[in-house]
Each structure stands twice: as C-alpha cells, then as structure tokens.
Symmetry: C2
Subunit: 332 residues, 2 copies
Amino acid sequence: MIKVVAGVDLGGTHTAIGIVDKNMNFYGEESFPTTDYKTFEAWADKLTEVINRLCQKADVELIGFGLGAPNANHFTRSINNTANLQQWKTSENNGIYNIATTFKTRLGEHIEIALDNDANAAAAGEKIYGGAKNMKDFIVITLGTGLGSGIFVNDQLVYGYSGTAGELGHVIVKRNDRPCGCGRAGCLETYASATGICRTVNMLIETEPELGKDSILRKIAKEENGIKKSKVIHEAAQKGDPLALKAFDITGKVLGEALADFTAFTSPEAFFLFGGLANSREYILNPTLRYMEESLCFPFAGKVKVLLSDLLDKNAAILGSAALAWDSLDKK
Amino acid sequence: MIKVVAGVDLGGTHTAIGIVDKNMNFYGEESFPTTDYKTFEAWADKLTEVINRLCQKADVELIGFGLGAPNANHFTRSINNTANLQQWKTSENNGIYNIATTFKTRLGEHIEIALDNDANAAAAGEKIYGGAKNMKDFIVITLGTGLGSGIFVNDQLVYGYSGTAGELGHVIVKRNDRPCGCGRAGCLETYASATGICRTVNMLIETEPELGKDSILRKIAKEENGIKKSKVIHEAAQKGDPLALKAFDITGKVLGEALADFTAFTSPEAFFLFGGLANSREYILNPTLRYMEESLCFPFAGKVKVLLSDLLDKNAAILGSAALAWDSLDKK
C-alpha cells in the first residue's frame, strides 16, 4: 500500500488539504471554509473526516500529518494566538490549539504529527520535493510581504535558543535607513521583498525624475497614490522599463550582498528564492547572484548557488506542510 | 581508573600537551620544541612518548586525543599546508599531515581522535569546560589579530557545505570602509579585534584632535608610528583616558550591532567573547552588550547573553583541544 501524508494549509478563511506521497504524487485534494467551524474541535473533526475519506478513496496508507502556519510552534506542536483564528479562543484553550494531541487522538497514535511556521515549511518542501533534495546546508528565502527564511544546517532546521531563529528579514543592511514594521530601520526586508521593491520604485520616482520619464510606473503611482504591487514592476520590467529594471538591480544588490554575509555564517550550498517576488524569476535572480558573487569573501567565492525554488509553480503551501511530516519521519 | 584525553596545542615553535579529564583536572603537562623534529613522524613519535609517559605516571586511562590548529580540517582529520610546518613537507605527504591515522596507529585504534581549527576548539572548550556547559546554541567570538568564531547550533559545531562556516569576522558591517586583509572592505574584524581597536585609536588621533589631547596614546603613537598593541589601549582605559574609552565604545558599538544581526540568524542563547581583546573584560563587554540590546529585533530582546569566556584566564589552547575529543566522545 502506498504510504502518504496529509499536508494541511490552515488559513483564516480556507483550510486546504492534500494527500501526498514522498515523490510529490497527489492522491486527493480538498478545501473547506475555516470560518464554517465555530470551535477548534469541530474544525479538527471536519479535517479528520476529509483526510480519512480521501485516503480511503485512493486506497493509500496515511502515516503522517503536516501543518504549516505563521504562528505554528514546532516545539510545543501547537498554534499560538493567531489573530485570524481568534474565533476558536475559549477560556479553556486560551487561543492555544494543540495540534499534536488533537490529531493523534483523531488519526491514531502512530501518525507522525509535524508543524512549523510557513518559512520552515517552505524549507522542508525544498528539501523533500524541491532542489535541496541532496543538500544538508541550504537556506530558503521567501520574498513576500516581508522576507522570511528557513535555514537547514547539517540536515536540520535551525530553531535556536528562542525557537525563532531564521529572522533574516530583520538583519540590518542599511542602518538608520528605511523604517521597518519591527520598529527599527534598515532591515533587509524593507528592500528585499515584494513590498520592498515597491518602496524602491516609489523612491526612484521621487529621487530620479529623469529615469524612465514615460514609465507606466509613474502613471500608476500617480493614479493609485504610489506603487503597491510588485506584479506591475515585473510587468514593466518585461517591457524593458528603466525604472523597473533599476528597482530590480537595487533589490538584487541589497539581497545579494546580504546573501554573501549569510554565507560567511553557515556556509550554505545554495540559497533558494521563493514567494511573490521570486516569481519575477531572472529579473530578481540575476542581479542577486551577480552582486552576491562580487561580495563573497574569497574562501566562499564560486561555492554557493542562488536558485529559484523548485516549488514556485506548484502547490507549495500543501507540499511544504506535507514535507514537514516526511522530514520528521526521515529523522526517526 | 580516571578517564582522560590528551589536549594538544601544535604551534610552529612549540607543541604543548595537557592530560585532562572532563572536569578540567590536569594530570600532567609538558611542552617541547616543534622545530626539533625534522619529520612529521618523528614529531608524532615524540608526542606519543610524552602522552603515554604522562598517563602512566598519573595512572589514568587515555581515551581521546584532541588537536586544535589554524589549518586543522575536521572532515579530513588532517592538517593541510600550514605555513609554519613547511619543514615536514615531503613529496610523499605533500604538506598534508593525517592526524587520525597517525595517532590511531600510535595510541591505539580505540582512541577517539578529534581535530579542528582554533576557533572551533575554543567553542568546544566553552561547551565542555566553560560557560556553555548547558547550552545547545551559542557562539564563541575570538577577538585576536582578526575575529574568529565557533558556532554551535542544536548542540553541534557548524561546518556548512564548504566546511569553513563561521567566518563572522568577514561579515561586512560598513560597506566600502576599512580595507580588510581578505581583499574586501568594511569587514567586522577590521573594527572588532585587537588590531581593529588599534586602527580605531589611530583614526581618532587623526580625526579628533581635541579628544584626549594629553593622552598617553598620542605619545605612544608618535614614538612608535601608530598604536600597534591593544594592551596599551586597555591600560589607558583603566586610567580613564578619553581616547581609549571612545575606542572601546566604537568597537563595542560595531560588535554589538553585529551580534544583534547574528541573533536574528541562529538565535544563540549566548555569545562568549574570547581572545586578546576580551582580556579587556568590562571595557569591551559593557558597550558590546549595551549596543546589542539597543539593536536587537523585538522577538529576541532580553533573550541573549553576552559573556566573557570562562577560559580567559586558563590554558585555553590545551583545554579547547581536549574539549574537541570530549565533545566527539559525547556524540558517539
């Protein structure tokens, strides 16, 4: 019988489930509204019903359950105080939903239960299903609203003393420069993220009035009170827009120089770029790689790769969650 | 019978040996001139004789052998192309001295043989004998001529893909600033090291003519064509010299801000300061700690310690080497 795990992407509005084997074959997928369930237990019952039904229909053996969510805590194996799941909070659970206990009870004691934050799930996804299959040391950088990271060192995810290691978006790259949501300034994610590149374009519109005078980005910014989506920058870049290309160059420089510094720390074999801005593919990859190489210290020169995630065009949220379970099973 | 290991500090001029148990008790120490031995094998024979004699005399059981040296390679368990051991190079060994094979043959197959570079040996020393005894995640920063580092993540030394992880001295903290020996500019070690603080004082002498006008450091710099030893800066600081105190403040600021960034990466429980400049104790520790706290991202605030190495006033080279063997034995 084919062995599978359930990969679960728990969002505030929808819960998506995929039944996946270790070779990335899907044996069923389903999603349902998270908000339809008034209690955590009712949601867990529904999820259990879906998983069991999909496995029975496909005639496969469930051996693991993986869940990736922003506030998932690997150590306590629970989801803690997530803003978008407040409706399940009771005086009893105090907003802490114990995934391990809940699903061991429902799916069986022998089922491997794994959960982690979404950046670590992305890293596990790359390890089990993506380009990091044969790597022990690598870092996945997610370029979304912010910059997240999942770090593998010696074949293990890095949690650190606090459990919250891998906050590479909050390494300071330009001290006292752009304000960051964390309350400080000059953090990497204020440049290298989907939001960061929008800020860079908005800055260029102000500071470089001669650059791309007829750029579509100037028009959009005027109409919409600033560039707010990195997608329009990508589309402009595809048309050779000089403002857009300059913004990718600036973003790649900041990111590439940071990756060179990260290399001196844990010496990864590769960095994988993932998330919204990574969908701009060569526009972000090429400058990042070039500036990283220029900035690397000599013992590392030519020894570290920058790659696009293999999961960019796949169902990464479900695959990352499933991968957490496979990675956990591999280490038994 | 008490179990011990031999800790060996192999220098170009002298080889120092200590027979040490896991509680830091010494059962014999000796040193001999490395240069007296014309071949690697003759040196190994001599070292074997000393170790066996010391163990017999103390009536202890040897179970391990640890060696720390700048060019020691943990993976190949050999010393490769060390400038100061060129006299042993033959057409046969090509300057690569295989420590594992050599001492397994001489001391016995059952003896645990460990070797590593000196920064990793210092980190192992902190783990086995020092302040990191109960820590799984910590970083030792050695502030000597340069800045070296040994990183523990999840109870393991970090080597990375290249085997040369932990080059934190070459993280760039002020881009395009001070030239570094690595050929780039603005590396952390150009500020935070015994050499770095000398450069800072020499800079202050030029750029701040009104600061510490009667400073002893100005006199020394004039007589000796610049400040060349951090010891004189420490002595001046003890007398309240404003130039010296300003130099420690600048050094601590650069180092503390870098430690805050490192925390976002692997989230250590503590940083340990070691090496020449760490002997200045509170003069370097206090500003480093203060600026790190000011710079930490909120999830880490108040959660990471900066400590002086417990081995500062001990025979750290031998203890670090011995610790490599104990750490290796612990992981069997």
